[in-house]
């Protein structure tokens, strides 16, 4: 455990030093991996810990992005616009969607969350005041005292700070008694009910926490690109996050980050050589599901454990 922590710390330092070591394109890829890593971790809380396979997580990612875009463009380029409002909006939406969705489970839960996210997508896609299909361009980065976030290395550390914050917060949540109850729900929901836990309330709380963090990730994505479009709300965004979690290893938090790195790395490198890169990704995914369902991280642990 201690060596794992040391490894993680060394990794963080290495990532933090990237802008001074490599060119600007790899740095931007790393930033995107961090952002999607946050998003994938937030989905992992639902999938890997509370046993809720949500296909509608993109709704909160996109909502956070749109709220941040609107607030940063039209209201004020402050941390309130970049963090507080998107998180609050995603939390509120998570409360409503979660309240209605957790009433069902299994495939119905998947369909319901999918339907909700597609409603968000359709609403944004058809709204002329949200730029319709073209989305909202020209999103400025927030102004923090003394920091110029338009500089790549400053923005890099800013994103890394959010990443560490999300990682620490989620790690605390899953290790808390609350997190243990979630694990129990995943293992055997009926038994938890029989033990007297208000399972629904626990699930709803987890759903809202996941949605909130996804909203923050969406806001970072909008700041990173200076742009947000309906694609962020589309179900394929949920699907990509699901792939990241599965490839990396559900129920591990760090795994989905590796999954995000693998996914974005593959997409960016392979797709320059072939349009059929998704075939390779699909094959890799099938391979993982069949032979290493615990994902990249599980594989690494198995190796380390001998």
């Amino acid at each position: 455990m201690r060596s794992a922590r040391r490894l993680a710390l060394a990794g963080l330092v290495a990532v933090a030093a990237l802008p001074w070591l490599v060119g600007s394109y790899p740095v931007k890829l790393a930033q995107e991996i961090l952002i999607w890593g946050i998003f994938a971790m937030s989905l992992d809380l639902l999938m890997g810990y509370a046993g809720m396979l949500s296909f509608g997580h993109s709704a909160f990612f996109g909502l956070g992005g749109y709220v941040a875009a609107l607030a940063l463009r039209g209201w004020s380029p402050s941390l309130v616009s970049a963090l507080v409002l998107p998180a609050a909006a995603a939390a509120a939406a998570g409360l409503v969607v979660g309240f209605l969705s957790i009433r069902v489970s299994g495939v119905y839960f998947i369909m319901l969350t999918l339907a909700f996210s597609q409603m968000f997508y359709a609403a944004a896609f058809n709204a002329e005041w949200l730029g319709a299909s073209d989305g909202l361009p020209g999103v400025p980065r927030p102004r923090l005292i003394g920091l110029d976030l338009d500089r790549t290395e400053v923005f890099h550390l800013y994103i890394l700070a959010f990443f560490v914050l999300a990682l620490v917060a989620l790690a605390r949540v899953v290790r808390s008694p609350f997190g243990r109850v979630l694990r129990g729900v995943e293992d055997n929901e009926r038994r938890m009910v029989a033990l007297g836990y208000a399972v629904r309330r626990f699930k709803l709380a987890a759903f809202v926490v996941g949605a909130t963090i996804a909203g923050v990730a969406g806001s970072l994505e909008a700041q990173f690109n200076g742009y947000i479009s309906p694609e962020a709300l589309f179900w394929t965004t949920s699907g990509e996050a699901l792939l990241m979690v599965s490839i990396g290893g559900a129920g591990t938090l760090a795994g989905p980050v590796l999954g995000a790195a693998a996914f974005i790395g593959l997409q960016s490198l392979l797709s320059s050589y072939t349009e059929h890169w998704t075939l390779i990704l699909g094959a890799a995914f099938i391979g993982f599901v069949l032979w290493a369902p615990e994902g990249l991280l599980g594989l690494a642990r198995r190796e380390a454990g001998g």
Binding site: N126, S133, G135
Partner: protein, 403 residues
């Protein structure tokens, strides 16, 4: 003061350095760096056909020039934007920062263009837009680094507004898919149609990107019984709309007019007889009778064994813009201001007519918007030019380029 060891070493080092550097300089003169052109186009997903068409048109120009322009070898780097703004943006960054391309060409989707605009502008990267027509890129979001060789959504539609009011009828029903380009196009038509005394009796926006059934909208049109229906659809939606319009028996009562994409050569064969008589406005028709177009159509058919469409012309013209601009600077791409000036001044014979940019917006001035009617020519359906409106330039409201 003979030859000390130190002096000897210094002498050797200087000579060696001179030889190496001199050699490199000579080599540089003999073979200058290749001209890197990044193609940011869809090669998968719904618009893959358009991406291929544009690439084919563009390749034709460079192939004819032996893949060398102004002494520089042309190197194409293709990236698939998957019609997804997020992916397009990531690929644009890759082409700009990692590959260091001299020119970026693309994209097809206006969503991708909206996404990459700021990145392109801030990186001072020259972009030749080969399709995406969002008006804003010629308006408040124009950039001195962005040139558009295709069209703005306003361009084919605004002239049609006044033309339809003058020549067909003053009462129209508008229908288009519910997304940014649909809104842009209908707004442009309405603007001039109403100004010419026309009246819009109804307006509908259909689901996008997927819509199988236009029946609810056609029923409404049937009830409104307008003299003209003005529509914008593209690709498979254009095929379905035109066929269902005919099946509903609306063809006899309401004249169908629209933006050129409604009956482009990529969809005409599938539309068949249902398309007969449809009037559209576009900057191009395969049948245009000018030497540049004849040469283009002949070369395109010989190489790819199919009839070129407007998209191929956009790729063809994007390549010509690059070739002419580069020839004017003698192959130099380093002095960006000089290259930008050269690009602003390019002028050549395009299949669509005499090509030049509007210095105020760096959007192409359409030599003509051709009013075309679908007729049968030699047993094949074709867009026959019945009228034309000259020098159509986007109003460019809000664009502050020094022009």
């Amino acid at each position: 003061m003979g030859l000390t060891r130190r002096r000897f070493l210094r002498g050797v080092a200087t000579t060696a350095a001179g030889a190496v550097l001199g050699g490199r300089a000579r080599r540089a003169r003999a073979a200058p760096a290749p001209l890197k052109i990044g193609l940011l186009l869809p090669y998968s997903n719904v618009y893959a056909v358009l991406g291929e068409s544009i690439t084919d048109g563009l390749s034709l120009v460079f192939e004819r020039a032996g893949w060398t322009v102004a002494g520089r070898r042309v190197e194409l780097i293709k990236e698939d934007d998957e019609v997804n703004p997020q992916v397009g943006l990531r690929k644009a960054k890759k082409l700009i920062e990692s590959d260091g391309v001299d020119f970026l060409v693309g994209p097809v989707s206006s969503g991708v263009l909206a996404a990459i605009r700021d990145t392109v502008h801030q990186a001072r990267q020259i972009l030749i837009v080969a399709n995406a027509g969002n008006d804003e890129i010629s308006r408040d979001r124009c950039s001195r680094y962005i040139f558009r060789a295709s069209f703005s959504n306003w361009q084919p539609n605004a002239p049609m507004g006044s033309w339809v009011a003058a020549h067909v009828a003053k009462e129209a029903y508008l229908v288009a898919p519910k997304y940014a380009a649909g809104f842009d196009m209908m707004r442009a038509f309405k603007e001039t149609f109403v100004a010419a005394g026309g009246k819009v009796v109804g307006e509908d926006y259909t689901p996008f990107p997927v819509n199988e059934d236009f029946a609810p909208f056609l029923t409404k049109i049937n009830q409104a019984a307008p003299k003209v229906v003005y529509a914008f659809f593209s690709g498979s939606q254009a095929v379905r709309f035109v066929r269902q319009y005919d099946e509903f028996g609306l063809r006899a009562r309401s004249k169908l007019c629209g933006a050129g994409f409604l009956t482009e050569s990529d969809v005409l064969p599938a539309q068949g007889q249902s398309a007969l008589g449809i009037i559209t406005g576009h900057f191009y028709s395969t049948l245009l009778d000018n030497p540049a177009n004849k040469a283009f159509v002949r070369a395109f058919r010989a190489k790819y064994a199919r009839t070129p469409d407007g998209f191929a012309v956009q790729g063809y013209d994007s390549a010509q813009v690059i070739a002419h601009g580069l020839t004017a600077t003698g192959g130099d791409t380093r002095d960006k201001d000089r290259l930008l000036e050269a690009l602003r001044g390019v002028e050549f014979d395009s299949p669509r007519g005499r090509f030049r940019f509007d210095p105020r917006t760096q959007n192409v001035i359409q030599p003509f918007i051709y009013v075309r009617e679908v007729r049968e020519v030699d047993g094949e359906l074709a867009n026959v030019v019945v009228d034309r409106i000259a020098n159509v330039r986007d109003p460019g409201t809000g664009c502050t380029l020094p022009g």
